[in-house]
């Protein structure tokens, strides 16, 4: 079954001096959020950007895929703490997404956790969408 998700953005003015707003998303989960080029390409100044939203999408997708794989192997995680860092080179494009995950998972050794994290990095739908264009990597560690 297909699932659609939507967002609406407005923008006024040129790229460097203008500004925009992520007005709303279909679920109502966030917005309105202001966006500017300066906040995207320099310091974020409290405002999100396409790359931060991609990092959020990737961290969320990866965490769900990893929890699913761990649960299927009989190791439902107590908790996973995941950071995704997306790199953008203006003029070149989005080049990299690095996942860093720490897991509190009982009955699993480091090698088993690393293997599950690598598989989630390969298979989660956002990874699948980014793969080929973007370098993907994962750093994983068990905390218990």
């Amino acid at each position: 079954m297909a699932t659609e998700r939507r967002a609406e953005v407005t923008w006024s003015g040129d790229l460097l001096g203008g500004s925009g707003t992520i007005e709303r998303v279909g679920t109502g989960a966030f917005g309105p959020l202001p966006i500017t080029w300066k906040d995207r390409a320099e310091e974020p100044g409290g405002n999100t950007s396409p790359e931060e939203l991609l990092a959020a999408a990737h961290a969320a997708c990866f965490s769900m895929a990893l929890s699913g794989a761990l649960a299927r192997a009989g190791h439902v995680p107590e908790s996973l703490s995941t950071t995704a860092t997306v790199t953008f080179v203006p003029g070149t494009g989005i080049t990299k997404s690095v996942i860093d995950v720490e897991g509190n998972v009982r009955g699993l050794d480091d090698a088993g956790f690393r293997e599950a994290a690598e598989a989630a990095k390969e298979n989660c739908p956002v990874s699948q969408a980014l793969k080929g264009n973007v370098e993907l990597s994962v750093i994983s560690k068990l905390t218990s």
Binding site: G18, A29, A57, M64, T87
Partner: protein, 151 residues
């Protein structure tokens, strides 16, 4: 140009089917602790965001900035752009889910001719890094028009 990095953080507890996550925009602080879960991702969202919604927001924001840049290059910076993105995730062979498409709809208020606008919209799609990413594995479509064309 320097490299720019942006980070987001997730805390997840439990299995994918019954667990839940909280999502924070770590670089900007623009949002924090947004709940998400697998059932809300594929079914009724119940007010929860999802990876696909975040990609829709990223794509609409990226395309809006690219189109503003292209219209400015054509000496017609937009008075206002409205960009909507709809991202679809679907089950594919083997029962896995894949992001299959992102459809952009853009409406512009700008002092520019129709043909020049079309060229600017094509260039914006070609230049938007998020379009380039999605196009690697899914369909990107662009329906762009001047407001005076559609009124």
């Amino acid at each position: 140009m320097p490299r720019v990095s942006r980070e987001a953080e997730v805390i997840w507890e439990g299995s994918s089917a019954k667990g839940r996550g909280a999502l924070t925009a770590a670089s900007s602080g623009a949002f924090a602790g947004l709940p998400f879960s697998e059932p809300a991702r594929i079914g009724d969202p119940e007010g929860q965001t999802s990876p696909e919604e975040l990609i829709a927001a990223a794509h609409a924001a990226c395309f809006g900035m690219s189109l503003a840049a292209e219209l400015t290059r054509a000496k017609a910076p937009p008075e206002r752009l409205t960009v909507r993105a709809e991202v679809v995730i679907d089950e594919v062979e083997g029962g896995n889910h894949r992001i299959v498409s992102s459809a952009l709809t853009a409406r512009a208020r700008s002092r520019i001719g129709k043909d020049e606008f079309r060229a600017a919209a094509d260039a914006a799609d070609a230049g938007c890094p998020v379009s380039a990413l999605i196009r690697g594995s899914a369909t990107v479509s662009v329906d762009a028009a001047l407001e005076q064309e559609v009124v």
